[in-house]
């Protein structure tokens, strides 16, 4: 059994030899001193720290050492044995992730309720049932200032309070785990690696409003999450945390799982309710809000996975503690799934108020290609694109809204210079058009028409007046659509028009795609002095548009070229240019 582990990052190409030498030296040192059965040396692909020389991470102490030299070997090993830290080598990141929602992820066995309880789980529920009571519980949540993490950011305590005040023979709580936003997976991660924290949150929510029945609405596309929640619910029943007389109190609650079936609109509260009722996921006009009239006409509270995972922590540590974290209007932390053209893609949990630049550049290491960031997109298909110049904005609900985006559920997509700002909104709008339920016309027809404009622009058929028409359409969709999907579907278009209008004009007026993404507007040509005349592109060109010979060189006939890009893929000398 190894007591200590040293992780060494060995994927830095610039210093491959040095890393290998260091690894051998360290291993030799451990063997010489007979420590190799106590300290395990593991080579890993990534520690999340870049351009800081040789990086080591010590487990279980979780210290990261940077710029480590061969001469440091002895003192590092000594410090591990003595349980000390070498201050001058320790890496102290500018922005630290702050883990509340992800507190247990990766640290406990998600299929073992005892591990959750051992790490302080269900203590919040005990406190709520024992000393707090409904009134004080809602008061505590109010003090914490937590707002819904599913997108709109509605204060959680208000939702609960409305439902509590309504008189009804039955009330429901629902956990919204229908994470349909492409490019976001924080809910899946929480459900799979810490299911009990969500269940505990849901039990507390049920107690707050006096519900006796709760549902987990989970995407069928997440089989592991379904399985883990299923297991966790069974364990909770066995421990008396669900069912009748929970923890000896008079409070009863039953929990059940309902599966989604691949409809994005079902993430919207009223559509989700229809789906649980076994019907088409059509949204309904609000009011009445679900807090008053929800599932089967009864008061219903619907909370997002991340919101619920926060609740046990708030109860155990107090609303005041939570309210200290974050900004004036947005308390606590937010988990983002940072993906796209980013070096260190993954889940990041930061205190609200950290800037986008800190998240993208410092925590996630900037772009994969090393090219400058062009824009960051938040909020998925309902959000907007934020240009590089505004990356210093602190992240909270209000700030993102001011920029024309939204917090959303937490998808954050990083784009570099190779991404076209006409193609991106086309992609998102295509998604919303496909996922529109078709009930109301502003969303059904407006989205379709808008997509038509974008398609024409990307194919070089756009007209200058199209932009004004798209702006008009987006206002109509925002104002007149029935639910959040239609109201926000035009956000990607509006925000790219706001920040990247010149790029639209380039497509419309000059029939050029600066990023080289819109295939209709790209012309391929062979750069004479880079071409080594190997002829590989000629063999691989499907429509045989490349002609010439090894003496005179080759050229592409534009009228024959179908712009498939195969020549670019096969050319080893990068001699094909796209313009």
């Amino acid at each position: 059994m190894y007591n200590k582990v040293i992780l060494i990052k060995d994927t830095d190409l610039k210093r491959q030899d040095k890393t290998r030498d260091f690894y051998t030296h360290l291993l030799d040192y451990l063997r010489e001193n007979n420590l190799h059965s106590e300290i395990l040396l593991v080579r890993v692909a990534d520690i999340g720290v870049y351009d800081k020389g040789l990086v080591l991470k010590m487990l279980p102490d979780r210290n990261t050492y940077i710029n480590v030299q061969d001469t440091d070997i002895k003192r590092i090993v000594d410090s591990i044995l003595q349980g000390k830290i070498i201050e001058e080598l320790v890496f102290r990141p500018k922005v630290k992730q702050h883990r509340i929602v992800l507190r247990n992820c990766g640290n406990i066995d998600p299929e073992n309720i005892d591990e959750y309880i051992f790490s302080g789980g269900y203590a919040g529920l005990k406190k709520v049932l024992g000393e707090l009571g409904q009134q004080k519980l809602i008061e505590e949540i109010k003090i914490s200032g937590i707002r819904g993490r599913g997108g709109a950011g509605y204060p959680t305590w208000m939702k609960w309070n409305f439902a509590r005040e309504v008189e009804s023979d039955q009330k429901f709580v629902i956990c919204n785990a229908d994470e349909g936003d492409p490019g976001a997976y924080m809910d899946r991660s929480v459900l799979e690696s810490d299911p009990h924290s969500v269940i505990e949150g849901l039990i507390i929510a049920a107690f707050a409003i006096g519900a006796s029945k709760g549902y987990f609405y989970i995407r069928a596309e997440y089989p592991l999450a379904v399985e883990r929640i299923n297991k966790a619910i069974k364990q909770a029943y066995a421990y008396g945390l669900l069912g009748n007389n929970i923890l000896g109190s008079s409070f009863n609650l039953d929990l059940e799982i309902r599966l989604g079936a691949g409809a994005f609109v079902c993430g919207e509260e009223t559509a989700l309710i229809s789906s649980i009722e076994g019907k088409r996921g059509y949204p309904h006009p609000r009011p009445p809000y679900p807090s008053v009239k929800g599932l089967w006409g009864k008061p219903t509270v619907i909370n997002n996975v991340e919101t619920l995972a926060n609740i046990p922590a708030i109860i155990s540590k107090g609303g005041k503690w939570f309210a200290q974290i974050g900004t004036q209007t947005s308390k606590g932390t937010k988990v983002f799934a940072v993906t796209g053209k980013v070096k260190n893609s993954g889940l990041v949990e930061i205190a609200m108020g950290a800037t986008l630049r800190e998240i993208v550049m410092d925590i996630c290491g900037g772009t994969l290609s090393g090219k400058p960031v062009k824009a960051v997109q938040t909020g998925g298909p309902s959000g907007g694109v934020i240009p590089e110049s505004l990356l210093d904005t602190p992240v909270d609900y209000e700030n993102l809204q001011k920029l024309g985006s939204i917090m959303g559920s937490g998808g954050m997509i990083v784009m570099d210079e190779d991404d076209c700002m006409v193609d991106i909104p086309k992609f998102y709008l295509g998604f919303c058009v496909e996922e529109s339920c078709g009930k109301c016309s502003p969303c059904r027809i407006g989205g379709f028409q808008m997509l038509g404009y974008l398609k024409r622009i990307s194919e070089g058929q756009g007209k200058p007046e199209d932009l004004a028409q798209m702006r008009r359409l987006s206002v109509a969709m925002q104002k007149a659509s029935l639910c959040g999907l239609g109201q926000t579907a035009s956000n990607p278009v509006v925000s790219t028009l706001k920040y990247f209008e010149p790029e639209y004009n380039e497509h419309i007026l000059n029939k050029r795609c600066p990023a080289g993404k819109c295939s209709h507007l790209v012309t391929y040509s062979i750069v004479g002095d880079k071409c080594k005349r190997c002829g590989l592109c000629v063999i691989n060109c499907p429509p045989k548009a490349i002609s010439g010979d090894k003496e005179k060189g080759f050229s592409i006939a534009p009228e024959k070229c179908v712009k498939c890009g195969r020549c670019v893929d096969v050319c080893k000398f990068k001699a094909i240019s796209k313009d």
Partner: protein, 157 residues
């Protein structure tokens, strides 16, 4: 007489869910898990057992992307077209699969071996672009690897 035709598994399934409200979607899930799609005969029987019009059942099946009315191929190829995968070139991968297999999204190859599905997000954006064949996930897929990946499944036959 009608009752004899009823599929015993379906009867059991319906019994399990009958008393629960809003059970239709859950029953359809179980049918699809078992058969890979929702056969029309079962929908007809279900309609009788639950006393729900067939149109109501089809209304639900056709609304949700997850439910299929046709039997899928032996291997289901799910190509992720989520944002992260799209940015890292999943459109190119899709074209490549389509040209190799000669089918469009939502279709099955003539030999019934592959069914191609362009899905929204598989939730592993860190591995983009992602292709999932049955339950095996292929991450960071490159265009020139597609033929190799597919041929493995063809050779198995």
């Amino acid at each position: 007489m009608e009752h004899k035709k009823l599929n015993p598994e379906l009867v059991e399934l319906v019994q399990k869910w009958k008393d629960k409200e809003g059970n239709l979607i859950m029953i359809l899930h179980e049918i699809q898990n078992h058969h890979g799609y929702v056969p029309r005969e079962l929908s007809l029987e279900l309609s009788k057992m639950l006393d729900v019009p067939l149109a109501r059942i089809y209304e639900v099946i056709t609304f949700y992307n997850y439910f299929k009315l046709e039997p899928p191929g032996k291997h289901r190829i799910a190509l992720c077209m989520g944002t992260a995968c799209y940015l890292r070139g999943s459109a190119v991968i899709l074209e490549e699969i389509k040209s190799i297999l000669g089918i469009q999204e939502g279709q099955t190859t003539k030999d019934g071996l592959f069914y191609l599905d362009a899905v929204r997000c598989l939730g592993c954006c860190g591995l983009a672009p992602v292709v999932m064949i049955d339950n095996k996930v292929y991450g960071k897929v490159k265009k020139n690897e597609i033929a190799d990946i597919l041929s493995k499944y063809i050779k198995e036959e």
